[in-house]
């Protein structure tokens, strides 16, 4: 669908909110946790970036909040530097891979940085019982504070959140939801595992980061193609740029949709979908975030 940029709000030094309205007709309803994929024009290619929808499900337009990522994907840079009110963007219909778990009575929400966004939509869910802690850099404190109700605890200093104690103190009827950059997710997941959380009670979504790295060449056995994956693009992006349509949904290493079998080469895993034993087996890769450790990698696609 084609959506027009109706409004751009500067929330912080590198955080902006964009309002997207339909060129004509009405938008599909997007429930709490849903995201949209924006197709963002770049030099010689199109960036496909996923952003959580933070507006209420009934609103006439979608609102997304975007952090300008300095050194990785180009899409956020374009939105911050080039996007103008009135620009029309191609947007894929919303998907919801991160709805609040229905089976849980209480939710412990932990987020960091721009991982704040999916939980902002949870605030619209009537009667949701949650405890939310958000961690951010001091420079973003004002932006985050303006977005969060008083019931949410904002941590902007070092070590103000004792994650291990918080995770260990939760009751058995509570589910844990995590969203943030890779380092935060790794840290929180390790702490949760240590406290004895079963994986079934942990829900996670990770956006942004970790798509760049050393360039490599991917050989696709069934498609018969060899593609160069540059330092600034993901494997998924490179495959799409070559005209292929590999499977994907969240584009953030969380849903598992983009998993492809590895035939040769060594994977550098950046996802939060595969278990540690699956990672060690080196027979599958999540193309949206993971890369090759070797200069070449061969996939069954």
């Amino acid at each position: 669908m084609r959506l027009v940029l109706g409004k751009i709000d500067v929330l912080g030094p590198s955080i902006r909110r964009f309002t997207l309205s339909p060129v004509s007709g009405v938008l599909p309803v997007a429930g709490a946790g849903a995201h949209v994929v924006l197709e963002i024009p770049g030099p010689g290619r199109v960036w496909k970036n996923a952003y959580s929808i933070v507006s209420t499900p009934s609103s006439a337009s979608y609102e997304i909040i975007v952090r300008r990522v300095e050194h990785s994907r180009g899409g956020s840079a374009w939105l911050h530097d080039h996007a103008r009110v009135g620009d029309v963007l191609e947007v894929q219909a919303p998907q919801n891979l991160f709805p609040p778990s229905r089976t849980s009575r209480r939710h412990l929400l932990l987020s960091a940085g721009i991982g704040i966004t999916p939980f902002l939509s949870y605030l619209h869910v009537p009667g949701l019982s949650f405890e939310w802690h958000h961690c951010g850099k001091a420079e973003d404190a004002a932006a985050f504070a303006a977005l969060l109700p008083e019931t949410v605890t904002l941590h902007t200093g070092r070590n103000t959140l004792n994650l291990a104690a918080l995770l260990a103190a939760q009751k058995l009827d509570t589910h844990l939801s995590l969203c943030g950059p890779e380092s935060f997710m790794d840290f929180a997941l390790a702490a949760a595992e240590h406290a004895g959380w079963p994986g079934q009670k942990i829900h996670k979504e990770s956006f942004g980061g970790a798509t760049g790295g050393a360039p490599f060449i991917v050989h696709l056995r069934r498609s018969g193609q060899s593609i160069h994956v540059g330092a600034e693009e993901s494997l998924l992006d490179a495959m799409e740029a070559a005209g292929l349509v590999p499977p994907c949904l969240c584009r953030g290493g969380a849903c598992g949709e983009c998993k492809l079998p590895v035939l040769e080469g060594v994977v550098e895993h950046h996802d939060h979908y595969l278990s540690s034993s699956e990672r060690a087996a080196n027979d599958a890769i999540m193309t949206c975030v993971s890369r090759a450790r070797t200069t070449e990698i061969t996939l069954d696609f």
């Binding site: 209480r106 260990a168 009751k171 058995l172 009827d173 595992e193 004895g196 959380w197 079963p198 994986g199």
Partner: protein, 185 residues
């Protein structure tokens, strides 16, 4: 023939991802595998030394007078406990699924509860005719003590009721009742 609704039980094994382990059983003693488990394992049994007098508690061991006393205490414990607890229900199928349902009611996930069948092969039978629960049935055909229907004990197990279905055996030819056999599983 495999019956889908009939649960399959794995042998007892501690889930090492848990921090605290609570074994609940309707038997007087936990099976030997439980005794041999190393780690922070608490055991709740049903054992009396005289009617209404539970056996003495010991380190990590808490005997109850009855299942009727144990299960509500389990609910209390689960409401207070924090994450990291694993529940192992060991004993008759009726008991282990009652305990499982208590755990689900307290908000646990299936991954935090383990069921292990142990002890004699006795079934709780649900009379589909009058809805009476008949405990400790060891044979394939029984009369319902309430409505008098002769029930065939099917392998169909309801986890919600923690009971096997008892269906009328002489529905087609009233009075034609085959001989009962001992249950072997």
């Amino acid at each position: 023939m495999t019956i889908k609704s009939r649960p399959i039980y794995a042998p007892f094994k501690l889930d090492v991802t848990g921090r605290v382990h609570l074994v609940v059983t309707n038997l007087a003693e936990a099976p030997v595998e439980v005794e041999e488990a190393v780690g922070d394992v608490l055991v709740w049994t049903v054992k009396t030394v005289a009617p209404g007098v539970p056996a003495p508690a010991a380190r990590n061991l808490r005997p109850f007078r009855s299942v009727a006393e144990l299960l509500p205490q389990l609910a209390v414990r689960l409401a207070q406990a924090t994450v990291g607890l694993r529940i192992y229900a060991v004993g008759s199928e009726a008991f282990i699924w009652d305990a499982y349902n208590v755990a689900m009611g307290a908000g646990l996930d299936g991954a935090e509860v383990f069921t292990h069948h142990a002890g004699p092969f006795v079934r709780r039978v649900y009379c589909t005719h009058c809805r009476t629960m008949i405990e400790d049935v060891a044979v394939t055909i029984i009369p319902c003590p309430v409505c008098g229907a002769h029930l065939f004990v099917r392998d169909h197990f309801s986890r919600r009721l923690a009971a096997f279905m008892g269906v009328i055996v002489d529905a087609e030819v009233p009075g034609e009742i085959p001989a009962a056999e001992a249950l072997i599983s």
